[in-house]
Symmetry: C2
Subunit: 320 residues, 2 copies
């Protein structure tokens, strides 16, 4: 039986919840955005979202045209469709969000974490088309990962596999504190936030002049570093090299796990292109085990940043 | 159609090639051992092995009673049934050993690396029965690993996934050289050989008295350290603690990848039991991400060491 013509994708972020209605050719034919915060309970959030969805669902011919819904959300657990103890959301404990949307909309709903949704999106629509083994690395506030083995997302025993951002790369006393409560996680160095930390730390330690010094410290973003590096700012270039080296050699360690045919990088810092990726590739090649040399491609996602997360979530919906 | 009653398992090691004929209840009903070296070519090795196998095949009623053969071998590639560039074997390049045995014996033959075979053996006969996500760690001359995700061995894009022994745990200038040509791999610290290196290094650096000093340096084995530790030797106990801590915290990093329900340890050093495993468990609990706390069991293989490798290989044969 042919599937109904549309799925709903939801990219649930700490600030915005972006819904898209997506057709079989990956066109986002309608979309709506709802603030994630300020609804009080999760029940009210779902009610408010469904209210906001109504016009765009009607626009495509009503709910009977919608096959299913897919959600990408922080701390999302694919196995039970719940968001569990998400530090950046307002809802404490375990929220069975897939079930709640399914009850309200009357369609099947699947949920996974945002980096896994990105990996599914790359398989369905992006550079991972046809790949059976790859690792998705998303660089944002955190460093997320979605791991695909034998064509399947790796969820592990509990639905929470693929937290490569919390691999420890510095066990010294100088290691940075991570949001997870431990120290030295790669997330604290190579996420967008981690890059800004590097800039603040180096500006404090060094006297090198830099245009980054003109930006108020707490407003400095990875984007500023990329722009400065592109303009030839020495300190910014060194930050790109440092970030790339840490990422590249850590990915070389990850190759020992699943020997992927590609690493796919996504997120704000990747907009720097070769300024980041050249040092990543150099460090990867220098550090990877001889068995794996020359095998994995280090790629940038080609999906449009704004649509990619919604597309990833929608691809999960098509799997239902 | 019911499968024929026996499979052949081959544990191909650097020194000995141990063949076992195994029934459906995991009894090794007959076995024979052949030296791995000294046959000249791989062709001659296969011929000599088949000659040695003939009497035990006849013993169970001839080759028509044998369903298949499974081989566990260093640098074994499951995808093409070849041994590829194995530094500890006499045959250079790529040896299509599965095909060669299959041609000679007239039965299907599968091959994988030794640690993967051990993982398959644990799933079929050992403590991993019924598990869908676990990581096998084998401690011997090297540190091998077999990773199971969604009930399947992780082979990666090239058949060589699961080389966790080559995850780098020390990037300092003091890092130990590893057999792979790089420095700081966990194999250089936590394999049986790595433990002996720790003993030699610490005896050189420290003045602590130890019964280990009575053993000629190049004859010292991990077994001696375990025995000395059990007898209360302080230096030996500290070596067990150090090895366990490195293993435990590195396994905590591995959890970020596949969130396994268990780590299963196998090999000589595990005979030390709690002397090794208590520090492993302590370091694992102290280092693992909060998401995973209390989830993975840290287990010892319960398969008999001598038979386990043959049983693992035979389990691969049953999959054909």
């Amino acid at each position: 039986m042919e599937k109904k013509p549309y799925v709903i994708g939801l990219d649930l972020g700490g600030t915005n919840s972006v819904f898209g209605i997506v057709d079989k050719k990956a066109n986002v034919v309608a979309s709506v955005s709802v603030k994630t915060r300020g609804h009080g309970t999760a029940e009210q959030y779902v009610d408010d979202c469904c209210e906001a969805l109504k016009p765009i669902i009607d626009q495509v011919g009503g709910i009977e045209k919608i096959h299913a819904m897919g959600i990408g959300a922080p701390n999302g657990n694919f196995y039970n469709g719940s968001i569990e103890n998400a530090p950046n959301l307002e809802w404490p404990g375990i929220v069975p969000l897939a079930q709640m949307f399914s009850d309200k909309l009357g369609i099947p709903v699947a949920l996974t974490n945002d980096a896994n949704a990105a990996a599914i999106g790359e398989m369905a629509y992006g550079v991972a088309k046809g790949m059976k083994n790859f690792i998705m690395i998303t660089l944002g506030t955190g460093l997320g990962s979605g791991i695909v083995v034998n064509g399947q997302l790796v969820y592990g025993c509990d639905g929470f596999a693929g937290e490569l951002g919390h691999v420890v790369i510095d066990r010294s006393e100088h290691a940075r504190e991570c949001g997870c409560g431990r120290k030295g996680c790669i997330e604290a160095y190579c996420s967008a936030t981690g890059m800004a930390r590097t800039a603040r730390e180096w500006m404090a330690i060094r006297n090198t002049p830099s245009t980054l010094r003109d930006i108020p410290s707490d407003q400095l973003e990875s984007k500023d570093i990329a722009i400065a590096a592109a303009q030839g700012d020495q300190l910014a270039k060194e930050i790109m090299d440092y970030t790339g080296e840490l990422l590249g050699r850590t990915c070389a360690d990850f190759a020992n796990f699943s020997s992927p045919e590609a690493f796919i990088f996504f997120g704000g810092p990747t907009k720097a292109g070769d300024l980041l990726m050249n040092p990543v590739r150099k460090a990867y090649d220098e550090n990877v085990l001889f068995n794996y040399k020359g095998k994995a491609k280090l790629l940038l996602s080609e999906l449009d940043g704004a649509a990619a997360a919604v597309l990833g979530a929608s691809a999960l919906g098509w799997e239902l």
